[in-house]
């Protein structure tokens, strides 16, 4: 124990300063985390396509592929400027894809899987929903810009996982 050869009084002074600064630091940390919390919930309450809702359960996940609403699903109009689509993830494709949606409309995606877990990520957006066999999740998002968006499977689903890429084509809104 030959180290710690502190000059007389140094350890004492250092310790006292440390205790003072420690209190300030803990206070700053708590304030910082509280602000982050408030910020997070602010964005989540306004949704922005972040919040995944639960639409229902299926005891037999394989059956969703052959029964409505997921079988032969297409974009359906649900309101003045609102649409919905049932998106099925299965080894190793997205159905329906490519999917045309109008710019500036609220699109609700109902997402599930008929086999293993998949991940419904739309590149360049906040849309990120786990496709779980047996549970239908939903998220609502408004595409502000026209163009091609890729649906990328982001949950490992087997040997062709990397190739499970779908497309959403956002058609430009007609000038009013």
């Amino acid at each position: 124990m030959s180290d710690s050869a502190a000059p007389p009084g140094f350890e004492e002074a250092f310790h006292q300063a440390a205790e003072r600064h420690e209190r300030v630091w803990v206070f700053i940390a708590i304030v910082l985390l509280s602000l982050l919390m408030a910020g997070t919930l602010f964005f989540v309450v306004l949704d922005y396509g972040v919040v995944v809702q639960t639409d229902g359960y299926r005891a037999d996940p394989a059956s969703v592929a052959t029964t409505p609403p997921f079988a032969d699903a297409a974009l359906v109009r649900t309101g003045p400027n609102a649409y919905a689509v049932h998106m099925l993830a299965h080894l190793w494709t997205w159905t329906p894809s490519p999917l045309h949606v109008p710019q500036g409309a609220a699109i609700t995606f109902y997402v599930t899987s008929s086999d293993v877990l998949h991940g419904f990520e739309v590149q360049g957006t906040t849309i990120n929903v786990t496709a779980v066999p047996g549970i239908v999740g939903s998220v609502t998002y408004t595409f502000a810009h026209p163009g091609t968006y890729y649906i990328i499977c982001n949950e490992f689903c087997g040997i062709e996982h990397q190739a499970m890429i779908g497309r959403i084509i956002v058609d430009p809104a007609r000038p009013a």
Binding site: A5, L33, T40, E121, Q162
Partner: protein
Amino acid sequence: MSAVVGRGIALPAVHADAAERRTMLAFLVWGFSALLIGAAIGPLQALNYGGIDAYPYLHPVLQTYYQGLTVHGVLNGYIFTFFITCGLLVYLPARELGLSPNMALWRLCLGTMAVGTLMLLYAMFDNSSSVLWTFYPPLKGSAFFYLGLTLVVVGSLLPLPIVLDLRARWKALRPGALTPLVTYMSAATMLMWLLAAIGAGIELVVQLDPWALGLTDTVDPMIGRTLFWWTGHPIVYFWLMPAYVSWYALLPKQAGGKLVSDPMARLTFALLLVFSLPVGSHHQYDDPGISPIWKGILAALTLSVALPSLITAFTLGLSLEYAGRLRGGRGWIGWFTALPWRNASVAAQVLAMLTFIFGGAGGIVNGSWQLDNLVHNTTWIPGHFHITVGTATAMTFMGVAFWMLPHLTGRAPFSPRLALASVWLWFVGMSVFALGMHWSGLHGVPRRAWVSYLPHSVYERVYGAAHLPLLLVAAGGVILWLATIAFYIVFAGSLFGRRLATPVAIPFAQAFGGKESYAIDDTEPAGVVADPHLSPLAKLLDHLGVLTLFTACVTLAAYIPIFWPFITHMTAAQGWKVW
């Protein structure tokens, strides 16, 4: 102050006997052997993101990227960390207290995990279980995989009774004395892990083992996934807390100073015990079936976990500053440059701490629900955990190995210069890799995808915008290969070096404000000095049983509402072997 010294209690032996050293060495060798295989494969995955597919050249050892990734994740995430931790968290408290641990249990721990590891290796290398380290059902691997993992988890819990027994024996001789710091931190870590392991334990024993053995036909994927994250979040603290033990209790001494606050070290571990457990489902912000209200509560609890880490940043930063100033460092950053940077063990751990600042900041992004939506399951996430467990933990364990191998074997360390080089290479390689991974994640590049196997035109069309960051990922991987080679030359060389004349002591640090932390080395007897002015906070936190019970209740309160809809809407999914 010396009330308990003069009772005629024989002072316990300060030196570990040969059996304890041999067993600790076995834990180190098993753990670092796992890391050797895992780290050798890692850069292949980095090259994958750079568009280079090395797997066609690896037949028949590895068939696919996903098989390599499974081996990499399981060996590095579970086997490496568990062996090192289950060694350290018995050996260090035993040496701190000067007591001999229950050797039969400790060897059983080693043996159980070793058998489990061999089963896992068999199941992974025959490509029957390329389910990645998360093994989400209904992907279905072989029974060897799940049973092997079950054994590893069971084995990893055995240090708990050993540490509690050490603590009880020590306390029985010293009524009213505070648990010495290293023992406290070890016990808190193992109690946390006991509660944490319940999730994956149930998933394996109730769901996956019978299913893989053919006793049941179907499985509920969401219940499995939620049980996995019950464990999967606190496991990051099972990776981290042993590194914190070294940072709080050993590193200040290695750097030439003291720990500036013993009660804060205890508070950190107590908070980690409580906060890490109920929040596992924040890994499921994007899952259906969990109420948004609960996700909001989880977000709040998750951000609370940052508090103990911020306290740690302060306390450890200050401990290093104290050491640096004693070494003659002046001014705002002079104390930092004055640290003993030529000591590879110190350099490894200080660089690990620096990296962890960025790891913690990224963790706050992941924990913030709305930001997580942008990065969930993109390369951002592995980028994050390669600078937490992959650097903060791995480099700390490497740093510990640098002094511990000579301590255990009595042999000279091999080439301190190469050791220092391996540390810097790991730091630079992992920083470049992680920068690339975080950055490409923001472009929506998914994690763990065999993108180099895609037709080049598709790779360019979908991920072309992330070209530069993906090149950084590959470059980081190549640097990490060099780091791995350098480290293992040092590791192997240190096992067979020349005999040292003087033994290497364990660098237990002392704390400010009395002797709350116990310093044991070759010249001083084991911790027999009761502290004259116990900190009230430290005294309160010594009730580990109450803390554990409270945490168990909070965890149940958090999970019952999450599991309720899944239990009332069961899914019967068949298994899939699709790799």
